[in-house]
């Protein structure tokens, strides 16, 4: 059964899109990630124009992050003040990101930059996660206690000015690195169509020393607003959010996520992380191969866009 995507302007098999949404939803529920970094490349592999894939991916992340954020808010593991400061940076970053996005599109380099960014980020994060989880598994096998390394209580980040007090996180921290982190993630959201949790969470823990119990909730808080904002700005400037595609992905995604959560609870943490790392690496390698092998046709065509 085919369904016509009015913005992507092509017909797709609805079951493939449903399957994609459900699979990514399942994985995001299992690993506790937003899934944007999987959805966007999968859509690109399925010949959805990268412009539409990125903008629609951002929209999908809104839906997949919201239920997580609600439960964190209920449990009180969400620092609204810290989240708001992150958000200020995030909104500014997303604005700049959409501007970069349109500029790259005019230059004809958008597809390449999207792929390159994915290869770099997925490759780095995947390798780091894989190494970390393998170490943890080896330690667990030797029955050694798992200890989180905490090198030095303070680093350069804590010597910056403009300090603010974040009561919930029990932190007295400069606003500069928080806004900076939000800004960087905001750019990634609009250029790559991801929530950015996979970068934000480690950065918050290791760089800003934010207590782990509020990290996930707070990052989800920022992700919802930045992805929502990105969706609106992408819709307004690039007309590239496909509501039909987004709705199919979201519905399948949220259902898949429920089952993913259940499976995730049965698996051990380090095994789960190793699996996710392999998956992330696989997607990155697949994108890298497409960049390196000689394309079937060296020429490509873009319609519209004025006098070029």
């Amino acid at each position: 059964m085919t369904v016509y995507l009015p913005i992507a302007e092509l017909s797709v098999n609805i079951f493939i899109i449903l399957g994609m949404g459900a699979a990514v939803g399942f994985l995001s529920g299992m690993f506790g990630v937003g899934g944007g970094f999987l959805i966007t490349p999968l859509l690109i592999f399925y010949n959805i124009p990268p412009v539409v894939a990125v903008a629609t991916g951002a929209n999908q992340v809104v839906a997949s992050s919201i239920s997580g954020a609600i439960s964190h808010f209920r449990r009180g593991t969400l620092d609204v003040k810290l989240g708001s400061v992150l958000l200020i940076g995030g909104l500014a970053g997303a604005t700049v990101g959409v501007w970069i996005f349109s500029w790259l599109r005019r230059l004809g380099q958008l597809d390449l930059i999207i792929s390159l960014l994915y290869v770099v980020f997925l490759g780095t994060i995947g390798s780091l996660m894989l190494m970390e989880s393998l170490r943890a598994m080896r330690r667990a096998a030797k029955n050694q206690p798992v200890t989180l390394k905490r090198p030095g209580q303070h680093n350069w980040v804590h010597r910056l000015p403009l300090k603010m007090r974040f009561k919930k996180s029990k932190l007295y921290l400069s606003a500069i690195p928080v806004i900076g982190l939000g800004f960087g993630i905001g750019i990634l959201t609009s250029v790559m169509g991801v929530g950015g949790g996979f970068i934000m969470v480690p950065a918050m823990i290791y760089l800003l020393r934010i207590p782990t119990n509020v990290v996930v909730g707070t990052s989800l808080f920022q992700i919802i607003f930045v992805t929502a904002y990105t969706t609106i700005v992408q819709a307004a400037t690039n007309y590239s959010v496909d509501i039909v595609l987004a709705t199919i992905l979201m519905v399948a995604g949220v259902i898949g996520a429920q089952y993913g959560v259940r499976v995730g609870q049965k698996l051990r943490g380090e095994q789960l992380r190793a699996l996710l790392a392999l998956l992330v690496l696989a997607v990155g390698v697949r994108l890298a191969i497409d960049l390196i092998i000689t394309p079937a046709d060296l020429y490509s065509l873009q319609i519209g866009g004025g006098r070029g």
Partner: protein
């Protein structure tokens, strides 16, 4: 008085006498004896509007046509040729070429062509080059290989221009947007013809133009065109309109759908 009337009568007589053989000659179909009568061309389409529905997989368009005042003899020996084109809305088209830079393939060169049709379907009674010499086809811009593709602004070297033009045509034909059927026009009776044109699934919406050309012994003697509207329907149209005309509201709506879906799921699957 007589002198005055005589020339008039003679004139009338002559006119009458001359008029008679003209009609008889025409009826008997004697070519060359008398000045040729101008042939006319009439066309009609099976539909004036094609709707892109949610399960749209392309469509076929049938164009019917009739030749008026066709010369029986020329018809009999197949001296009339008909070419029918269906041109999509026009827009700028940019062709880019990839090159290997530091091991990865990236777009390095590009060329933008002036207002080319986004889709183009052509049907004819026989291969175009058998109807017209190439130079003439180029002048008319008739046919996928002969349509005008002029680059905007910069003029590179000629070899490059040829490469980019070829790439443009190859990509368009490969994507199904440009189609060529050299036997797509058939005469169903001596002066009635039928042309079948295919609209691919990814046909752009907008006003398309059906253009029919009539050639007699390789000379273009008549042409006619008709608009054909390709429209998205119902929900598809509403979504496209909203996305382009009220983008802010559309974006807000997309976010709202996401919020409702996410929130709804968390309520629906709540364990407590």
């Amino acid at each position: 008085m007589r002198q005055f009337l005589l020339p008039l009568v003679r004139h009338l007589l002559m006119a009458g006498l001359l008029a008679m053989p003209v009609t008889t000659a025409e009826a008997q179909g004697l070519p060359g004896v008398l000045p040729p009568v101008k042939e006319g061309l009439e066309i009609g389409t099976s539909t004036t509007e094609i709707a892109i529905t949610s399960d749209f997989r392309g469509a076929d368009l049938t164009v019917f046509g009739a030749l008026n005042n066709a010369d029986e003899l020329f018809l009999a020996i197949g001296q009339y040729d008909v070419v029918v084109t269906l041109e999509g809305p026009r827009d700028y088209a940019t062709v880019r070429r990839k090159e290997r830079v530091f091991g990865i393939w990236m777009n390095t060169q590009s060329m933008t062509f002036e207002q080319t049709p986004e889709s183009y379907s052509i049907a004819s009674t026989k291969p175009l080059t058998d109807i017209q010499p190439v130079a003439q086809l180029n002048r008319l811009g008739l046919g996928i290989n002969h349509m005008t593709l002029s680059p905007t602004g910069y003029l590179g070297n000629a070899a490059q221009l040829t490469d980019f033009r070829e790439a443009y045509r190859r990509l368009k034909v490969g994507g199904g947007l440009y189609q060529n059927d050299t036997t797509g026009v058939r005469f169903v009776s001596s002066s009635l013809f039928r042309a079948s044109l295919r609209l691919p699934a990814n046909v752009p919406d907008g006003v398309h133009l059906v253009h029919a050309y009539l050639f007699k012994s390789g000379v273009l003697i008549a042409q006619k065109d008709l608009p054909l509207r390709v429209v998205k329907t119902g929900l598809e149209q509403a979504i496209t309109d909203a996305a382009h005309e009220k983008p802010l509201a559309y974006g807000l709506f997309c976010v709202m759908v996401a919020v409702v879906t996410g929130w709804g799921a968390s309520l629906l699957f709540r364990k407590d």
